[in-house]
């Protein structure tokens, strides 16, 4: 064993008092990072593992408002076993018409499901529905107040409930759903009469390929063969692309929040190492006196830190690795798929590297200073302040910090965002360091107050060894992060809960047959006289070419060109829709009858480089229509009205099979009667109650907030650990002060008041700084990144901030209490 290691092990016998802070901070930071990484890996692995079941097959071809042509079907069948699933929104009602609820109607054939199992809850009358039967989600049964064996009506069909769905293997792959599932077979679907030319439904053809067939080859073949069919082809590796993207992005964001927590923890590491080495300065000087070189000293203490850090990192990794199991146990139902519980080495390795690098960055400079402890200090009886580390050490620490930034950027799915985040964190760190310096410098220059206790409070902020700078950085970062998240969170929920319902209609109604529109209008007017009704034609179509460029030939879609992916809603209109504003070109004349003309969303046009006069080709029900762009519009999406990216001029789409959709706003107390009247008279019309959508979305945001808050809490915990560590570091000086003051006749209350002043001033400054910085960064994320309205709930934000500041103050005072309780006689003997 090397001498340095022997010395390190002997030194560690003295206990970990100073290194406990290092261990706690590293543990917290690494556990958070490893936990976030492991959980998102486990969910993505869950998605991958169930890829076939989630997609419903090895390959899925989906198309809007139509079934596959005979030629297409023949090609699908030649590739493997085919299952045909039709999905659409529909209304399910009790036979007495008292309750009508929106459902996701799903018509399946006998081959369904090709993978996974359809399972009904115990007590079902059959294993799967046939003919005039339906299986429904249990929450739908609750809301309709129906039981197994009861009948419900969907469209024109009366269907008997044979059971409640316990497991629907392809549910996640279907993405965001507003209603619960009503599952029927193809006969049941036909009986509803809802699948009509022009009604909004999706046909999916799932394929089970023979063993050994590569799905991507089949996908490629279909895409080449039916280049312009306007359908979407997916394979099992991308069963739920939206969910996967969401989980990966959320994981990425939480990783960055965790990284911010780790940076705060790093300050704790630095403080812990500094106070540990301070407590060892006598030992270091003695070792030098006995002939130890600075290299031996450095190596020995580096080894000690590595030993403790390794323990903390290992514990953090273990805690992080079990987080997916803990989250599954506590909140498994809220997760999109059951996570595949296993050990994921990559996130653990990345977290380990982060932890090790953070420990290195923050420990290296105190270590470099420890090298310089002069042996001669033993003769002088006191250890003077040490010189600053040389530039080589600072360069080494900077290099390790750059390695952290590089790791964060290279392991990120969105390197640009990660780079901005790192730059912002670095800027914040520098700014807070500067503020810490200013507070110290300001306190040193302020005129001395007459009261000795006030003088003491002021001096505590700037005297040698004061922890002010470190506290400002660590707690400032923690409070700023928390404030930023509070600003973002209250903005989101404010947007959904307050802004949206005020401006949103009461109902969206889909699939109103064209011929029935006048009767529908009349009935709506009579049943909701105060209602504001808007009806608008609706079709689905796929953009297949932009100018001369075929979308199918684009290797990658341009950024922001999401409207080129899959099929989109289309409409035609005589007048400019409400909430739209022309920014280029002109709106057409109401009686326009010329060649196809469209008005395009200005932002979408920018993304693909289109302008007025350019051409685009849209496939509607298999027919390609080339249209010229007549105008560009800016759309106010917040109205939650009908906002279509592509609006056709009159004269092109009227003859295509299509239906109308409608919105209506009305006082809430009329909604129930209105819904009942319309669904009785128009059983094929789907009604979406906006309030329910808002609640569903708000519920999702609530879950998101919990995830973000949990990650941010680690930052605050790390900040508190730093605060406690800083108090411990200045404990000796505080005991000395209070003992001397007591000796001179000061009461404990007066000494405590002086310390309350010190921590109060610090908490006030930190809260102000955190408020300003948090509001600014929150504004950036809300307005610039998310492009939402700026509407934070200042009450909540301030509450978060004030609680943070109060915790700071209370912890500070709590730390002082032990110093106050020191008995003068005993303390003087030991100091």
């Amino acid at each position: 064993m090397s001498l340095a290691l022997r010395l390190a092990l002997r030194d560690l016998r003295g206990g970990l008092t100073g290194l406990r802070l290092l261990a706690i901070c590293l543990f917290l930071g690494v556990a958070a990072l490893a936990g976030v990484g492991s959980l998102s890996s486990a969910i993505v692995a869950g998605l991958n593992e169930r890829g076939q079941a989630i997609l419903g097959g090895d390959v899925q071809v989906s198309m809007s408002q139509r079934d596959a042509s005979a030629e297409e079907l023949a090609v699908f069948r030649a590739a493997g076993r085919v299952s045909h699933v039709t999905r659409m929104r529909a209304m399910a009602s009790r036979l007495d018409g008292n309750e009508t609820i929106l459902v996701e109607l799903k018509g399946v054939d006998q081959a369904y499901p090709l993978y996974g199992n359809l399972r009904l809850e115990p007590g079902a009358l059959a294993s799967r529905p046939s003919a005039n039967q339906v299986a429904i989600g249990p929450e739908l049964a609750d809301r309709l107040a129906v039981r197994i064996g009861d009948d419900i009506r969907i469209g024109a069909a009366t269907l008997r409930i044979i059971g409640f769905i316990a497991e629907e293997p392809d549910r996640v792959g279907q993405g965001f759903a507003l209603g619960s599932t009503a599952l029927v077979d193809r006969t049941g679907l036909a009986a509803t009469g809802l699948v009509q030319p022009g009604s909004l439904y999706t046909s999916a053809y799932r394929l089970r390929l023979p063993a050994g067939t590569a799905p991507d080859a089949v996908t490629e073949r279909f895409k080449t063969r039916f280049k312009d069919a306007g359908f979407q082809v997916q394979d099992r590796s991308d069963g739920a692309p939206g969910t996967r993207r969401f989980i990966e992005r959320l994981g990425q964001f939480l990783t960055l929040v965790g990284l911010a927590a780790l940076v705060i923890a790093g300050i704790g590491v630095g403080n812990g190492v500094t106070s540990y080495l301070d407590s060892k300065s006598g030992t270091i000087a003695t070792l030098k006196l006995l002939g130890a070189t600075s290299r031996t000293i450095f190596t020995s203490y580096l080894l000690q830190i590595l030993i403790v850090a390794s323990g903390a990192l290992a514990a953090g990794l273990v805690a992080g690795a079990v987080i997916p199991s803990a989250v599954t146990w506590i909140a498994g139902a809220a997760l999109p798929v059951p996570p595949r519980l296993a050990l994921y080495p990559t996130p653990l390795l990345v977290s380990f590297c982060y932890g090790l690098l953070i420990a290195f960055v923050f420990a290296i400079l105190p270590l470099a200073r420890a090298r310089a402890v002069p042996a001669g200090s033993l003769f002088r009886g006191s250890l003077e302040s040490l010189p600053r580390p040389s530039w080589q050490w600072i360069a080494l620490a900077s290099l390790a910090a750059a390695a952290i930034a590089a790791l964060a950027v290279t392991t990120s799915r969105d390197p640009g965002f990660a780079a901005i985040f790192i730059a912002a964190a670095l800027g914040l760190l520098l700014l807070l360091s500067m503020i810490g310096w200013l507070i110290r410098a300001g306190a040193a220059r302020l005129p001395r107050p007459a009261s000795p206790l006030l003088r003491l409070a002021l001096a505590n902020l700037h005297r040698p060894g004061a922890q002010t700078g470190r506290l400002v950085v660590a707690l400032g970062l923690g409070l700023t992060l928390f404030t930023t998240l509070a600003v973002i969170e209250t903005n989101l929920s404010g947007q959904i809960r307050t802004t949206v319902p005020d401006r949103a209609p009461s109902f969206f109604m889909l699939d109103i047959p064209v011929a029935e529109v006048p009767r529908f209008r009349e009935l709506a007017r009579r049943s909701a006289p105060a209602g504001e009704l808007v009806t608008i034609p609706a079709l689905r179509g796929t953009v297949v070419a932009v100018g001369d460029r075929r979308v199918s030939e684009m290797r990658e879609l341009p950024e922001g060109a999401w409207f080129l992916r899959g099929d989109r809603g289309l409409t035609y209109a005589r007048d400019l829709p409400e909430g739209s504003r022309i920014v280029a070109g002109h709106w057409w004349a109401p009686d326009y009858r010329g060649p196809p003309l469209v008005s395009l969303d200005a932002e979408a046009a920018r993304a693909v480089g289109l302008g007025v006069g350019d051409r685009m080709t849209i496939s509607i029900l298999g027919r390609e229509i080339e249209a010229r762009i007549g105008s560009l519009r800016e759309i106010d999406w917040d109205t939650l009205g009908f906002n279509f990216i592509i609006v056709f001029a009159p004269g092109t789409l009227e003859q295509s099979p299509h239906s109308f959709t409608a919105t209506i706003s009305m006082p809430q107390d009329q909604e129930r009667v209105f819904a009942r009247t319309i669904s009785k008279a128009f059983p094929s019309v789907s009604m979406i109650r906006v309030k329910e959508v808002v609640e569903t979305v708000a519920g999702m945001f609530e879950q998101l907030s919990v995830a973000v808050r949990s990650a941010a809490s680690v930052a605050i915990l790390a900040g508190i650990a730093v605060l406690i560590g800083a108090l411990a570091a200045s404990r000796r000086a505080r005991i000395y002060d209070s003992v001397i003051l007591k000796l001179l006749g000061a009461t404990r209350a007066r000494i405590l008041a002086a310390q309350a002043l010190e921590f109060g001033a610090l908490a006030l400054i930190l809260a102000t700084v955190a408020f300003l910085l948090g509001a600014a960064s929150g504004w950036y994320v809300v307005v610039e990144v998310l492009e939402l309205e700026w509407a934070p709930d200042w009450g909540v934000v301030l509450a978060v901030l004030v609680s943070g500041a109060i915790v700071t103050l209370l912890l500070g005072l709590l730390g002082s209490l032990s110093a106050l309780s020191a008995r003068p006689a005993q303390a003087l003997r030991n100091l």
Partner: protein, 229 residues
């Protein structure tokens, strides 16, 4: 140029601080000590005794002058060079013992031997502790030893590598009279046994008289240099 003296210092100065805050601690010290000599350094507080010892033992670097210790030019060595120069050649005993609190008595004595690369560090340390009367206290930690015992360990630690030079800064300052006398007996006994040159700082004239030579310092200068007889 080689020197026959173990300590050969001429015109040594030491100043701390700069500008108005500059304090001249040593002001041109000339000192030569031959091998095996025992020298007492007397003087009031602040006269520069401890600083002279720090400079001569390589714990502090002189601001000016020439210093050769056991044949090595200390003015040319950096901090680590000085540390290496101490290994095995210079033993130091301080008033406040300065034992390493997390190491046993045995380990404390072995450390300088380990640092100088001795193979049988622990065997030598055990023998040295036995020589100072602590053969049965090897596994005790400093906190488990009395003040006198701690200073014995410190003496054993200083003499174990058989140094050419032994420095002692008020070695009995923290001890009662009886224990102090016993420690001094031990110190001189170990000096005799090892043949080391001894330089001891003291306020105690009785102790000074046990040395062969007495130096007196005032205001950073040696004001007298005489034999103890």
């Amino acid at each position: 140029m080689t020197s026959s003296y173990v300590i050969d210092a001429s015109n040594v100065t030491l100043s701390l601080g700069s500008g108005d805050a500059r304090v001249d601690i040593l002001r041109g010290i000339d000192l030569r000590v031959a091998a095996g000599e025992s020298v007492a350094l007397l003087g009031p507080s602040g006269s520069g005794k401890s600083s002279l010892m720090a400079v001569l033992s390589g714990l502090e670097r002189a601001s000016g002058g020439a210093i050769r210790i056991a044949g090595q030019d200390f003015t040319r060595l950096d901090e680590d060079g000085l540390a290496r120069a101490r290994q095995g050649r210079i033993g130091i005993v301080l008033q406040a013992f300065h034992l390493l609190p997390t190491m046993t008595a045995h380990e404390n004595v072995a450390v300088p031997l380990e640092l100088s690369g001795a193979d049988d560090a622990f065997a030598i340390a055990a023998a040295e502790l036995a020589a100072v009367g602590l053969g049965r206290r090897l596994t005790h930690y400093p906190a488990q030893l009395s003040g006198g015992e701690q200073q014995r360990v410190a003496i054993a630690r200083a003499t174990a590598p058989k140094p050419e030079l032994l420095f002692a800064d008020e070695p009995t300052g923290n001890l009662d009279a009886a224990t102090g006398n016993a420690i001094l007996d031990l110190l001189f006994e170990r000096q005799r046994d090892t043949g080391a040159t001894l330089l001891v700082i003291t306020h105690d004239l009785g102790l000074a008289r046990r040395c062969g030579r007495i130096l007196e310092m005032q205001d950073g200068r040696i004001i007298s240099d005489r034999g103890s007889g």
